[in-house]
């Protein structure tokens, strides 16, 4: 469904991605893990069009998307939940969700109903300014808002960042549910253990290259991964 081949991305002189190949099949949860500065977020931002790759190809559903603008890529059904819960803080929860349907607001009410069934807490707070929500609730809102665009595939950038453990497991459970409903997911995570348990397949990034890849299970038992990312 999504294929990156030989992607190079840089910030000025600093090369953040040095030729990575990643593939995500329809219906999969694929996870990118790696330490700080390995290039995980850069990879996601390159896919979503916020950053432009120096060279390489990105294909989504058989269409070349490298060099497209973010809004065009969202229009193709590839939505990103950006890092750090970038919600619209002064808008209410409901307004945030409505904003998510900017591209396509057909069936708005049903979609909102669906999001509220996934995250009942958002329903309780639908008229509250979203900046007053807790971190976990904001993350739920950010995910819910992306779903409003009816994405075929969702890019999640560190959804567990700064959340209490109970919230992390709640978010991961939701990701699994979304996947079962048919949404393909590419997940970037620091919380490697939880992510590898969830993912069908995973890639380990190190200094801008793909160091390892395999099924989540394989990587969980890989000696190097256990040492470097699982703290064993």
């Amino acid at each position: 469904m999504l294929r990156l081949s030989e992607i190079h991305t840089s910030y000025g002189h600093i090369k953040a991605l040095k030729g990575i190949d990643i593939e995500v099949m329809k219906g999969e949860i694929v996870c990118l893990i790696g330490s700080n500065g390995a290039g995980k977020s850069t990879a996601l931002m390159t896919i979503s069009g916020v950053l432009k790759p120096d060279c390489g190809k990105i294909e989504f559903n058989g269409q070349q998307i490298e060099g497209m603008d973010p809004h065009e890529i969202v229009g193709l059904g590839l939505s990103q939940v950006p890092e750090g819960r970038r919600i619209f803080p002064r808008l209410s929860v409901l307004e945030n969700l409505e904003m998510g349907a900017f591209m396509n607001n057909s069936g708005l009410k049903e979609k909102i109903k669906h999001i509220f069934s996934l995250f009942p807490v958002l329903h309780e707070r639908s008229n509250q300014p979203s900046g007053t929500l807790s971190g976990g609730e904001q993350q739920m809102l950010a995910i819910g808002r992306s779903l409003m665009a009816n994405p075929k595939m969702l890019l999640l950038d560190e959804p567990s960042l700064g959340l209490a453990p109970i919230m992390v497991s709640k978010i991961f459970k939701t990701i699994k549910e979304l996947n079962i409903e048919g949404c393909t997911i590419l997940l970037v995570e620091q919380n490697a253990r939880a992510a590898l348990r969830l993912a069908h397949r995973a890639y380990v990034l190190e200094s801008g290259i793909v160091k390892l890849h395999g099924t989540g299970e394989e990587l969980l038992h890989n000696e190097g991964v256990r040492k470097a990312y699982l703290g064993e």
Binding site: G75, R90, M99, F102, P129, A149
Partner: protein, 364 residues
């Protein structure tokens, strides 16, 4: 007695008495007749069901806006020319503040050179009129579109920048326009300015008289409020709001942030062009002095003072910053000091402005 107080006659009498000290008995009588007619006709007008739906969203219905519009519509009957003159300037500044509010308040893009577009509007009409003999009405859309186009020209390079950098570039643009107007002697007559600009005519009838000009400006402000409010609650307005709240999040919603920012620039500067034309036609004279950096700061202060992102706030801000200096005329030297102090106090106790759009504390 109570019945009488609620009758139209009582309301008209009150309005007439209220304005009595300001002018002579004759105008009080005229006012009385007008208000009486207006209030008596109101129930029938309501039955006509004039397009109610767009008016609701435009924010021009409801008690307060209608009352405000009525009061302002009646003022020329009661006020001395000097006050009308001040109110015309208030109308022109209200248009400028409304335009800048689209860029700064709705879309969150700081602009410190807004007077440049005001100048472009004013000079476009001045030059079209004095050199080509073009009248006010054909010049108005040309000047507005030209200001709008310069907004786009500035926007394309400037909107790659954010925050402080954008502010500096817009400030620079404002200065460039002023300096060009000041130095291009052969075309703009430099610091001497352009004199002899015609007031607007309708069927050969001059609107140069203050009373008529007041109504012209008044109608344009109402039209601006109507159009801007309609756009504020449209898809475009939502896109602007999303960009202001969080640009990256907006782009992940599928919003073409560059296009919508440019749209805000073009749309906001359009009203500056209109304001400029009205200014030139009122003064019948333009010179670069009227479009300094201080002018840009003044317009920005109006937007911030009234409540950033709120259409009515911009108008209130313009009202206060135009009327206050006139009321403080007795304080002479100290008036700018008092005004400055008021602004500082306001920013400390009400950072969102007098009528803020949304609670600014959430999410901070």
């Amino acid at each position: 007695m109570k019945r009488f107080l609620h009758s139209p006659v009582a309301s008209a009498l009150c309005a007439a008495l209220l304005f009595l000290p300001l002018k002579d008995l004759k105008s009080a009588v005229i006012l009385f007749v007008f208000v009486l007619a207006g209030i008596s006709a109101a129930p029938y007008i309501r039955k006509l069901k004039i397009p109610q739906i767009p008016f609701k969203a435009s924010g021009l219905s409801g008690f307060l806006p209608v009352l405000t519009i009525t009061i302002f519509a009646l003022l020329p009957f009661a006020l001395k020319d000097y006050y009308l003159d001040v109110l015309i300037m208030f109308g022109i500044y209200a248009l400028l503040a409304l335009g800048l509010n689209v860029i700064v308040g709705f879309t969150g893009q700081l602009n410190l050179g807004f007077a440049a577009f005001y100048a472009i509007g004013a000079y476009t009409y001045a030059l079209l009129n004095t050199r080509l003999g073009l009248g006010f009405w054909p010049s108005l859309p040309i000047a507005a579109c030209f200001a709008s186009l310069s907004g786009l020209v500035l926007g394309v390079p400037a909107l790659r920048l954010k925050g402080d950098y954008l502010a500096i570039v817009t400030l620079g643009f404002g200065e460039i326009v002023r300096i060009v107007l000041n130095n291009w002697d052969t075309f703009t007559k430099g610091p001497n300015g352009i004199a002899g600009i015609e007031p607007p005519y309708i069927a050969g009838f001059s609107l140069g008289k203050l009373q008529y000009y007041y109504y012209l400006v008044f109608m344009v402000v109402i039209a601006a409020v109507f159009v801007i409010r309609r756009i504020e609650f449209s898809k475009t307005g939502r896109a602007w709001l999303a960009i202001k709240e969080n640009e990256i999040a907006a782009s992940t919603m599928g919003i073409d942030t560059t296009a919508y920012k440019l749209y805000a620039f073009a749309f906001g500067t359009f009203w500056a062009g209109i304001a400029g034309t009205l200014f030139a036609a009122k003064m019948q004279f333009v010179s670069p002095e009227s479009f300094t950096f201080m002018e840009s700061v003044l317009i920005l202060s109006m937007v911030i003072l009234g409540g950033i992102g709120n259409v009515y706030g911009s108008i209130l801000g313009a009202f206060i910053l135009v009327i206050m200096p006139e009321l403080l005329r007795d304080a002479q030297l100290y008036r700018m000091l008092i005004l400055g102090l008021c602004l500082v106090v306001l920013m400390i106790f009400r950072p969102q402005g007098l009528i803020g759009a949304k609670d600014a504390s959430a999410g901070r």
